[in-house]
Symmetry: C3
Subunit: 444 residues, 3 copies
């Protein structure tokens, strides 16, 4: 439970808010690369952390992310011409490059100094792992790009999507690191394991579909996983252990990575890894970038088609990345299915998550919540991000974390009952924090 002030502190991220300042010290996903497919193509509007921005890809393929209004008379450069390495305003022809420099001022007298003094606000942008990332903080503090493993594997080994969500980003991220809810929200009702498998496979994150029945059953049967947390430079390892059929424990281990990434807890060795990154649009909606990757091999066309259709944590979306099942159509809930087959009557793990997270309200009111032992990951996440924001308020910049510290994995494992989380992580990943950077030449 938070008091009103802390709830605002945690969830508000427009300019000049403490959390907004903190987020602006990190790289944010602004667009999928595929959203700016063409050099000199149409510019595209985006809204990020409450700021209206304009993006374009120039003649050389570079991406610009700029304030949209021309400094001359305030016309929106969205109507501008993207040509010859710059965006030219449709009103009077002023032209700016991807860095916001004024490169042509046709109405100014030759020799005018205006061109050198006029500047369009521009944020640094980098294209990496099929995503366009931008940095909106002070220029003397640009951090390294987070070396998420999905960007370290060949493009053929990853799949990246995005979806819109109609609520504050924090409660959505909290849903992702809360692995206790799998016993309910994503549960299937049927006792027929084969049917459960078919249904669950439609909506779950399983790479190997031949024998996930044990895990489905273990998750359903134990609604009280024991939680353990390990902090590291880039975030938190969040483990939840459930009973199995014998003395061993079934661990589902997620990762939170500062400040807005979370990794799913499902993958056994040889299965698909999933992660998500949140981009606050305003305080009451966000984009969720979702990625799957396999360190071991490329995805097949069939697997990609399955993802396209909304498999696993990926959502089924329309051409504008809006989920087909969303708050405006009650997620196409089917109350008969809810009675007979699935816990929610809503199709898709991603859609089940969206429904329950949106339902917490545009911004969850945490002054009325009652947290318990299974919410430990959420508590630790809040501590970590709020104390970083408070430190920044005091003038202490976020630790300059090496980008490679983000090269971690998360997933599932069955371990002897006496192993602690660090031991389980080491068994599963060879490292207590799941670090795999060395496999990609990043050293230890």
């Amino acid at each position: 439970m938070l008091n009103r002030a802390d709830n605002d502190f945690l969830t508000r991220s427009s300019k000049d808010t403490p959390m907004g300042e903190l987020l602006r010290r990190f790289w944010m996903p602004a667009l999928l690369s595929e959203e700016l497919p063409e050099r000199d193509g149409p510019p595209r509007k985006v809204k990020i952390l409450g700021e209206d921005l304009l993006t374009f890809r120039d003649t050389n393929g570079r991406v610009g992310v700029v304030q949209p209004h021309c400094p001359h008379r305030g016309a929106n450069l969205f109507h501008g011409r993207n040509e010859e390495c710059g965006l030219r305003c449709a009103y009077h022809g002023w032209k700016f490059d991807v860095d916001g420099n004024c490169v042509d001022l046709p109405a100014a007298p030759p020799g005018s100094a205006h061109k050198d003094t006029v500047k369009l606000l521009s944020y640094p942008a980098r294209e990496w792992a099929d995503i366009i990332w931008i940095y909106m903080g002070p220029s003397e503090h640009v951090p390294e790009l987070p070396q998420l493993e999905m960007g370290l594997v060949p493009a053929s080994h990853r799949y990246v999507s995005k979806k819109w969500q109609d609520c504050n980003w924090v409660q959505s991220l909290e849903g992702a690191i809360d692995t206790a809810h799998f016993s309910f929200l994503h549960a299937v009702l049927t006792k027929d394991e084969r049917e459960a498998l078919a249904i669950y496979s439609r909506s779950a994150a399983l790479g190997d579909q031949s024998r996930p029945d044990d895990r489905v059953r273990w998750v359903r049967n134990d609604p009280r996983p024991k939680f353990a947390i390990l902090g590291h430079d880039a975030g938190l390892v969040i483990g939840g252990a459930r009973r199995t059929d014998g003395p061993d424990l079934y661990w589902r281990i997620a990762q939170f990575l500062m400040p807005n990434h979370a990794y799913a807890p499902v993958a056994f060795p040889g299965e698909v890894y999933y992660g998500q990154t949140w981009l606050p649009v305003s305080d009451t909606d966000c984009w969720i970038y979702t990625y799957s990757w396999r360190p071991d091999r490329p995805f097949t066309d069939a697997e990609r088609a399955q993802f396209d259709n909304g498999f696993g944590v990926h959502s089924q979306v329309d051409d504008n990345y809006m989920p087909v099942r969303n708050i405006r159509n009650d997620y196409l809930i089917d109350r008969t299915v809810q009675k007979t087959t699935s816990f929610t009557g809503i199709l898709g793990v991603s859609e089940q998550d969206a429904a329950i997270q949106d339902s917490q309200g545009p911004i969850q009111d945490r002054t009325r919540e009652h947290l318990g032992p299974t919410d430990l990951g959420i508590v630790e996440f809040r501590k970590m991000i709020m104390s970083a924001a408070r430190a920044l308020q005091r003038g202490e910049a976020p630790k300059a974390v090496s980008g490679k510290r983000y090269a971690v994995r998360s997933g599932g494992w069955v371990a002897a009952p006496d192993r602690d989380l660090a031991a389980v992580m080491t068994e599963r990943f060879g490292h207590p924090h799941g670090y795999v950077g060395h496999e990609h030449g990043l050293g230890d």
Copy 2:
């Protein structure tokens, strides 16, 4: 005319407003019974007096009206599972019964005291007369259900509907007790009495359609009824007397019943009685529950079909109880019909009322009105309800009115010119306040 402060006082009913506190001392209609048809069926969202609530019918048929957000993490129980005498949250399985008690907490350790301390806000609900009523006030002050006669007759003898209205509830109720406007708003233009009858019958509240012509004419010919008011424990008798063809007076007598009911002034003996109850949703919209009843016999299927189609004070509505003719389509006004046939060009008495009431604005600005002698009923209504709200502000609870005091009728009568309202009521109903409780075994 009211000053700004009094207009606000009269019309605002969210929590912590004086009028809101007063209304919360009475039973409010929350839903039609038919809106929760099924045990363990889907929960339904409602908004009442500005509060978002959730309703559900449990395994035993009991209805719960609860705060919609789960105390655990704030997920909306709308997505929950209605099963085995309780509503179970879809996020982590917390479960609550119709009284808001926590009956299952699967994620809490066995023996945890949490279950006994966690409580979901719940309002008492009763099902009576095809309506689900709720009480939102202090638990030590629950009043008796108002014994409206439509609830005392067999179900076969009543017909209940509801409709949405896009304005503050007070101006709508004021329209219902203002019987002067029948000479205009609901008037027909044609001089052909048979045609007038046909049109008027489509839209009027007449049981006997063989000779209402006199009344239509009397109402049209006398736009200045003389008003008289009689107060009683449960409300006001509001009589308006018009000239007839001879020396007698044609009385149309409505009832206002505290705090949000009104009865129509039309029924002659042997005709259908009509009443309405207002439910403020927010301060700028409301539900209107409308009921017809006959003490003497069941409604026929043909009569019910007529009501279904928007006869009399009932509105023609869609599956969501939204009027087919509403503010968003200008009530399908036909300006040619307005020139030639009906005063408004709008079809239906209910729709004519809605149009003119909505047109007063989301909340009527009473600082600019000019009331006259024919507005006496409205003036007395405001006095009664505002003084009750002021008394409650001073700590004086509303009088504990016996529910049976609501067992009254209203209607029309033709009386000698020397009779006062009490005498006319006694002639017409056998009692100066129209009390008929003794006919239903409620005593005197």
Copy 3:
């Protein structure tokens, strides 16, 4: 660049704002005459300078513009009956004439003085030049109607239209007197003069389509016209001179007329004249009345059909005067056309203007603009209108300008390089301010 306070001062025009007070000292276009086609026809809602009003044409053809709510109970007279020289409220029959006098009070006792004391707010209205004008200022200061030349020519010689625009009126008017943007916003890309002509003729204001190629080329080739301004009693002459193929200068000369009119700078002798008048609806939208006229001859049916379809400064609109290409559909921008054919990819001069003006924001933020020499007309316009509003704040009414001072023209001319603006105007129109009132019997 303006500071925040001045930007508000310039752009806000609701009641009790300084600019609102200034505008209320002038006649405002409320409707096209064609919008109230019928005597005793349906009343029509309008919103002007933030005020909701109701208009109707009475039995004698007179137009009333009144406050919409009946003084009795606040019902909207929109539902009223327009009959026998007055509008009768549908609720209780109160009736008002076009001057707001109460002419019938059926519910009041005979002899009641109420009728003489009740008054409906009404603004004086005049019908002139196919437009209904209203005056919303103090009754002791009613000015003369501005004698715009389009109203002085026979009806056959003019064409009047209107269109909705989704931004503050000031930035839209500023776009109209900014003739520098023709080198960009309305430019065509093709080098083929014949194709340019065809495209440009679709969208430009040219009467003689046989050889405008020179002008198109001159405008395209010189993006830095030299500006000169001449003030006069009714407004400003705003000239911009561009290079031609020889030593002469090509002048494009607009007019701003107080407080909300602008004339286009294109017409050579024998061509069509264009003007526009802005009507603020709220501070973030407006109606633009657009008119073409020929002093010399009637428009042909073919020319009128061309205007109907959105030729020149006229927009292609639907039955509600909403532009077919508007902010909600991104003006049907075609990015391929923008690459190959026209500077914007948007069809129509009027639509290109709307797109760029809307894009400046609901109210342009002038605190961030950077004006230059080609923005001189805009600077002088702001000085003139803001100083008039400040004078009115000090109690100095706007100069009582004779209506005939609005009888001016604007247009284009090719002049020797040594001529100043007054000389060019005299060469082109016979008068340094373009005055032509004497041609219409208004004297000098």
